[in-house]
Structures are given as structure tokens and as C-alpha cells.
Symmetry: C2
Subunit: 476 residues, 2 copies
């Protein structure tokens, strides 16, 4: 049943958790920091999976499955990797009623176990590129958790690839970043910036980390997907070698890349409003909800039959749900489906049927209620879903642009980050200490250097040097 939703402007965090609970996307689990993904939330994840899985396969990747448990000694093999992940590991110490000789780590990510197997499978240049993806659960013991955004266990996909040359690995990492950006914009209707991380924010064990960054409605940044070049760090640590065409033994260059159920958090915070969720049509569990309006007993069968005919007409093409619950008023249903963010609502009552029409309303409120001839339903649904998608994407882009300020000097960077929410861009000379200082003073981090922006200019942290265009922001 619909309870009152905390308004976004009163308390963004409360608004966020209210939506998740009331729209039944997820629920807290009895184990601290982990969550239950309920069917309505899981269905969004299934759409994400199905969209991305096709893209991965079309670019030559194959799915596989690697073990949940990793010997502790494996994690120790790559120095930076172990440093990055050690504080977050969950350890199995007992199994089958006995203490284990070596504790097993519950995978926080699978580079180590996958590269152990790659060492067995990769012998020749003919085995390359090796292009593997895995859909799996991973565990990172987090102190401060938030549903979908940061939970001890989450679902994700992790791609792992090996290539004969560094150039090919770079190309792969950027190809996958492009797929993530394309997904964000064309499926989730969220405008994103493609960037490259500073050394401070890089994945533990990577030589380069690329990311897509989105702006949420509270103007914080959300890192929505990452793609890493691993250089030869893991191939050397796990002794993966291939003989090249001249029969020389070489270490391959590698990548890894992933997106997770945090994408659902992004969708909530990029499009939602005080009425609730506002789902992008391509990922919405139901794209259309149909509500039969039955004012009296005698109109019941006509309305229900007409509703069924309409559903039969459009069900193959769109994801449609009929809400024919008879113990709940239409007004209540309208609110509930707005809360659940269904892009299009169709009402069908006896008077509409007399006129051979139905009543449409869009979740985004554009046009208010409007009548549509029954014969035009399919095309009208299709056009409106497209238009809703485009408007969501456009709004997301404009919102980010409107809330991104450029600064020309360091003092302005600090004062902007302290005084206003939003992204702040500036030219920046890569420097770990300066970056730490900004973080300490403002809680903002260097989200990324903007990938598509090649120009350099005087850095705000070092006027003697030309820096790259960087985005600073508070982030999830």
C-alpha cells in the first residue's frame, strides 16, 4: 500500500530509501549490509542484463562461470590488488564441519581466480584475444551501506580479457566503456561523461581506469561503470604466457570491466521525482499499465473484454500489465503506478469504449491526459515511449550541464565545491597530494579527466604546467 513519500527536497536520502521500499524494488535483509532484490527491482536488472549481454556477445565475448571461493594466497599475488581489497574481504574458515587449512576468500572481484585459469588456457597467440564475461554475485564488506549503491553483496558482470598487444587491450577497454556509455544513454536514458581516473581513484591493480560518470538529482556524481587496462600486472603475477608468431614467450595485456546492480540506484536518482520512480521505457518492467474503469456491475464485462482485446493487440510488442484489482479505487492505482514509475498509463472506461477511444497519461506529465482512438494504440504507445525516453535523456543532459561550473583557479575550485552542489571542472595537473587535499577540504573527489576533451590549459593546482580537464564532485 502507498505510504507518504518523503519529498526529494526535504531529504534526498530518505526520499531514495522510501522509493525503494514503497515501490518494492528491494528490502533490507537480516544480514547487515546485504539486501533482497524484490521482483520489481530484479526485473529492471534482468532488462539491464539482457541489453548488455547482447552487446557483449556481439563484440565476441563469451560467458563463463568461475568459483565463488578464492584461495587467500591468490589475492596476495598482485601487490596493489591485495592492498585495495584486503579490508573488505569476507573469509570462509570452516566448511563441512572442519576448519579449512587455508581460509577461502569470498570473491570481491575475480581477476585472481580467472587469471589463474587463463594461465592454464592461454598457450599460443592463437588463443588470443581471450574474451570472457561472468554474471555473478560478489562480496565486499562495507561499513556504510546503501541499498543498490553500496551493499556487502551485489550482483554484477565482470569482463576479463587477454590480448597480444597493449594497443589491443586499450582498444578493448575503450570499446567496453563505449558500450557502457551507450547503455546508459540509449537504455537507461541517463547522460554520462566518459572519463579516465586519476591514479588515486584507479582500480587496485590497473594501469588505467576509465569510467562513465552521471549526475544524480542531488547533483552528486555516480560512477556507473568502469573499464580497466591491467597492463601486464596480472599476467606477470599469475604467469600467463603465450608464444607469439615467432615463437617467443610473452605476457599478454589485459582488461577487466564491470557494471553492477548500482545501476538501479542510478536510474532511481537520475529520473525520480516527488511522485516516485520514473523509469526509462527500455528498462521498465511494465512499459504500459492498463487500468479498466468499471463504474458499475453492468459495464464490467464490456470493459474487461475490451481491455483484454487491447492487451492482446499490444502485448507482443510492449511489456503490458493490467491492474484489474477490484478492491482498490482507480485513483489509488494511479498513484501506485506513478510511484512505481510506469512510463505510460491507459485508462479504459465504458464511455471511452462508446467513443472508440482510451485515455493515455504519461508518467512524465507531458500532455496531461489525452484521448487516443483504439485503432491508434500501438503506434501511439510506440511514439510516446520513444518520446519519453528522449525527453528523460535530454533532461538528464541539461541538468548535468546546468549544474557543472568551470573554474580558473584553485581558490575558486575549493570555494565552489564547498558552497554549491554539482560538478566543478578545471584543468588539473595529476598530483596525488593535491587531490587528497581537495578531498579533505571539500569531501569532493576527482571523478575523472574528460576523455573527449583533448585540449589542455594552465592547471589550477600548478600554473606552470598545462593540465587536463578534470571533473571534481561529491560522489556516491
Amino acid at each position: 500500500m502507498v505510504e507518504k513519500l518523503t519529498p526529494m527536497t526535504d531529504d534526498f536520502n530518505e526520499w531514495y530509501t522510501d522509493i525503494i521500499q514503497q515501490a518494492q524494488l528491494a528490502d533490507y535483509s537480516p544480514v547487515k549490509g546485504s539486501m533482497v532484490i524484490r521482483p520489481y527491482g530484479y526485473s529492471i536488472w534482468e532488462s539491464v542484463q539482457s541489453y548488455l549481454d547482447k552487446k557483449f556477445k556481439n563484440t565476441g565475448h563469451q560467458n563463463a562461470y568461475f568459483p565463488l571461493f578464492i584461495p587467500n594466497s591468490f589475492i596476495q599475488k598482485e601487490a596493489e590488488h591485495v592492498e585495495g581489497f584486503s579490508p573488505e574481504l569476507a573469509m570462509v574458515t570452516h566448511a563441512g564441519g572442519k576448519e579449512l587449512e587455508e581460509p577461502l576468500v569470498v570473491r570481491p572481484t575475480s581477476e585472481t581466480i580467472i587469471n589463474h585459469m587463463f594461465a592454464k588456457w592461454i598457450k599460443s597467440h592463437r588463443d588470443l584475444p581471450m574474451l570472457i564475461n561472468q554474471w555473478a554475485n560478489v562480496v565486499r564488506w562495507e561499513m556504510r551501506t546503501r541499498l543498490f549503491l553500496r551493499t556487502s553483496e551485489f550482483l554484477w558482470q565482470e569482463g576479463h580479457t587477454a590480448h597480444a598487444s597493449e594497443a589491443e587491450a586499450t582498444e578493448e577497454a575503450l570499446r567496453m566503456l563505449d558500450i557502457y556509455a551507450e547503455f546508459a544513454e540509449n537504455a537507461a536514458a541517463v547522460s554520462v561523461v566518459k572519463g579516465i581516473k586519476s591514479a588515486n581513484e584507479r582500480f587496485a591493480g590497473a594501469t588505467r581506469t576509465y569510467s562513465i560518470e552521471a549526475m544524480m538529482k542531488d547533483m552528486k556524481a555516480l560512477q556507473a561503470g568502469t573499464s580497466h587496462e591491467l597492463g601486464q600486472n596480472f599476467s606477470k603475477a599469475f604467469d600467463i604466457q603465450f608464444s607469439d608468431e615467432e615463437n617467443n614467450l610473452k605476457y599478454p595485456y589485459q582488461t577487466s570491466w564491470g557494471v553492477s546492480t548500482r545501476l538501479i540506484g542510478m536510474i532511481i536518482m537520475a529520473h525520480g521525482d516527488d511522485k516516485g520512480l520514473n523509469l526509462p521505457p527500455k528498462l521498465a518492467p511494465y512499459q504500459v499499465v492498463i487500468i479498466p474503469i468499471i463504474p458499475n456491475e453492468e459495464s464490467s464485462s464490456l470493459v474487461l473484454e475490451t481491455t483484454q482485446k487491447i492487451v492482446n493487440q499490444i502485448n507482443g510488442e510492449f511489456r503490458v500489465h493490467i491492474d484489474d484489482r477490484d478492491n482498490i479505487s482507480p485513483g489509488f492505482k494511479f498513484n501506485e503506478w506513478e510511484l512505481k514509475g510506469v512510463p505510460l498509463r491507459i485508462e479504459i472506461g465504458p464511455r471511452d469504449i462508446e467513443n472508440n477511444t482510451v485515455v493515455f497519461s504519461r508518467r512524465d506529465g507531458v500532455q496531461g491526459k489525452f484521448n487516443v482512438p483504439i485503432s491508434d494504440i500501438t503506434t501511439t504507445v510506440s511514439e510516446n515511449l520513444d518520446d519519453i525516453h528522449n525527453k528523460l535523456l535530454e533532461a538528464s543532459r541539461i541538468f548535468r550541464e546546468d549544474n557543472t561550473k568551470h573554474v580558473e583557479n584553485y581558490e575558486e575550485l575549493i570555494s565552489k565545491l564547498k558552497s554549491e552542489p554539482g560538478f566543478v571542472t578545471c584543468y588539473w595537473d595529476e598530483n596525488s597530494e593535491d587531490e587528497d587535499k581537495v578531498k579533505q577540504e571539500t569531501k569532493a573527489t576527482l571523478r575523472c579527466y574528460v576523455l573527449d576533451h583533448q585540449e589542455t590549459a594552465k592547471a589550477v593546482n600548478n600554473k606552470k604546467i598545462d593540465g587536463k580537464l578534470a571533473i571534481f564532485s561529491k560522489a556516491y
Copy 2:
């Protein structure tokens, strides 16, 4: 590279593990008892998932995701459940660098955590039936493991449902059993017997366990899927109550049901032969492999172009792979794709192209090599895949029937089970001690009472009583 496969008749177990490794279905992982599912094996699992997921959704089930970690106290709540699973549990005792206050169990199955959530979600008869499914990994610490059949971690789906009445729960459990049987026969091409388990073989916590049982080529039984009625055991243990239409509080009746990656083991052992895998067309990663035959440089472009044209023609309808590796002979490729069990092979050489034909061969050897006009390829592929499926299914049914013997008295039961492989049927009076005795003497277990066989007759273990038709067999 293809190594020599141990002949099935020499050593069935060796043959089985050879196939898995050589066809690259799976590999051993560094963690004892767990496995890596390689792309070729995982692709079969993806076909299984996609087939069953549709059936689950068409019967009103929704997917969700529940946590991997379960508080140890939850497992303790249902007496039989804890007794059944305790010896197999893996425990997380440390996380985030600290010892946990309560150890967490890595889920061996999810009844306990799911029913904890059901207690929160189910309030009224309007919330019923609740029909949930989860695709997930589970961990059961096994002493003796076998790739796909029994591994410490495996992938599966687990359905969990709650119903207002016992009759509805029974109907649900049988509906899901039927879906499993339908899958086994129509997708995996394996003939199965639907049965109900004896108390000895029941799921820990169930009131009734149904299963489908298949016969492998070594004449052992394989339990391929189970569906359980849980009665009110879990709803009482987890205090799930709903108010019925008269506002009385009641405990719902529940079911759970699952199939796992062991189905891949079934497919290997039901259809394979001394040449290797023999995949059912509906689940084969590639239904057709096309091998261009290029005797000399100048025919190369003609052959490759024609091959590509043919692939474009059939690729939307079938899963097709072109093997155009240039460092490997056609003969070697034929062996490799036979090992990998691809149902249909098409060879295309310059002479075939001159005659406007291609050469077909079926993995099952029926017809040997035969020429097919290029214009008839689509229909010929389609007809042959259907025919291969039907013949596999039929062979599997006949093999089981031929290797099932009926006995009329106890001595014969014991001597048959001791002296011959295969199924032995008899009328049996449910009796746990007698069943244990058979197991001790013969290593065979009561696989199931045959569900579709209603007649009763004098029981071999108690001539005074009419028993039900039971199948005894050694099993995986």
C-alpha cells in the same frame, strides 16, 4: 587439441571426465571440489536457463534475488532442515578484518532466508499465491565431488512459493515437476520417469518430494530435478501468517523446487558416445558447424564467400558456427566438432559449389554424408534438427525400458540389483528399515515410486500388504 578419449565401455567415469575436459565444458578449479564452467559448457546452461525461465514466467513466477549469507540461527529453525544440511555448510566467520558476532552460512539452499522475508511480505490472502524464483549459486561442502554432478558450489534455480491451501501447494509442486519433465524430454531429449520419493530420500524439511529420474548410459539413475511440498513446516518455523477472507490468521502451505548445472552432466551421460558429446539440438551452443573446404589458394575466396552467404541465410534461425581456422585440417575439425557434439555439420568445397550443393553429416551418423542443394539448406537443417532430437529422445526411452526389469519377490530384487546394472521395479511397502537394508546390501536406493502408475500389488518386502510401484537403482 583433441586427445584420445577413454572409451565408454573401458571406464565410464574416465570417459565422462575426459569429455568434459576435452570438449572444454568445464575445468577443475584450485579450490577443492569446485569447478570452472567454461564458455562451451556455460552456453548449454544459458540455453537451459532461457528455456526454463520462460516456462516459470508463463506460469506466473517472478525472479528475485536473496542474500548469499544466511545467519546461522536461521538454519537452526526448521529441525529436519538443519539436520539435513549441517554437515555440508561453509561458514563465514571473519569479514572486514574482524570476527563476526554470529557466523554466516553460505546458502546451501534458500528456504530459511526466503521464508524470513515472506513473513514480512505476506499479510493477507490477497498476497497469495506468492510465486518466486531465484537463479543463484549455492554451496554444499561435498566430500566426493564430480564435475557438474556434485560440486561444492553449483548453479541452480530455486523456486519458492506460498499458497492459501494445501491443494494449491500440491498442484504447484506437480505443475513444476511437469515443467521439469517437459524440459527433460522436449529440450534435453532425455526420457524421464516422474516419481515421488520415499521418506528416506525426501528433501530435509519437505512433506513430499517429487523428482524426475533419468537413466544414464551406464544404466545408473540420475535425479534431474526435484519439486517439494513443504506443508506448513517452514511457515510455522518462520511465523508466516496471512488473514483469510474471513479474517482468520492462517499459515500458508509452501513448495520449493529446483534444477541445477547437474543437468549438463545428465546431457553428457544420456547421449554421449565414444566419439564424445552428442548434444540435443535445442540446447547445443552451435546447432550447425560449417566447415569450408579449401583445397588450394585460388578456390579460397569463392568458398569463403559462399559460406558467408549460407550463414547469412540461416544464422537468424539457427545457432551456426563457421570453423575457418587455416592451421588445422578438415579431418581434424570433423573429429573436434564430433567430440563437441554439434548436431549437424555442413562441408562446403569448390566442387560442391559447382554443383550448387553442400555436404551434410549428422552427429548421430544417420544417413552418413549426404548432398543438399544450397536452396534447400534451411528446411533441411530444420528437419534434421527435429529428427535428431526425436531420435535422441526415443533412444533414451528405449534404453531405459530395455534396462528396467520387474521383479516379483525380495530375493530377486536383491540379486538383480547385485548382478546387473539398470533399474529394477517392484511393488514396495514404504518402510525405512527395509530400504536401508537394500541400500547396504546392493548400494542401490529407492529412486522413486512411479507417479503415473496407480495400481498396487503385493509388496516384495511385505506380502501381506499391497505396495506401490517403486524403482530401485544405483544412482549419481
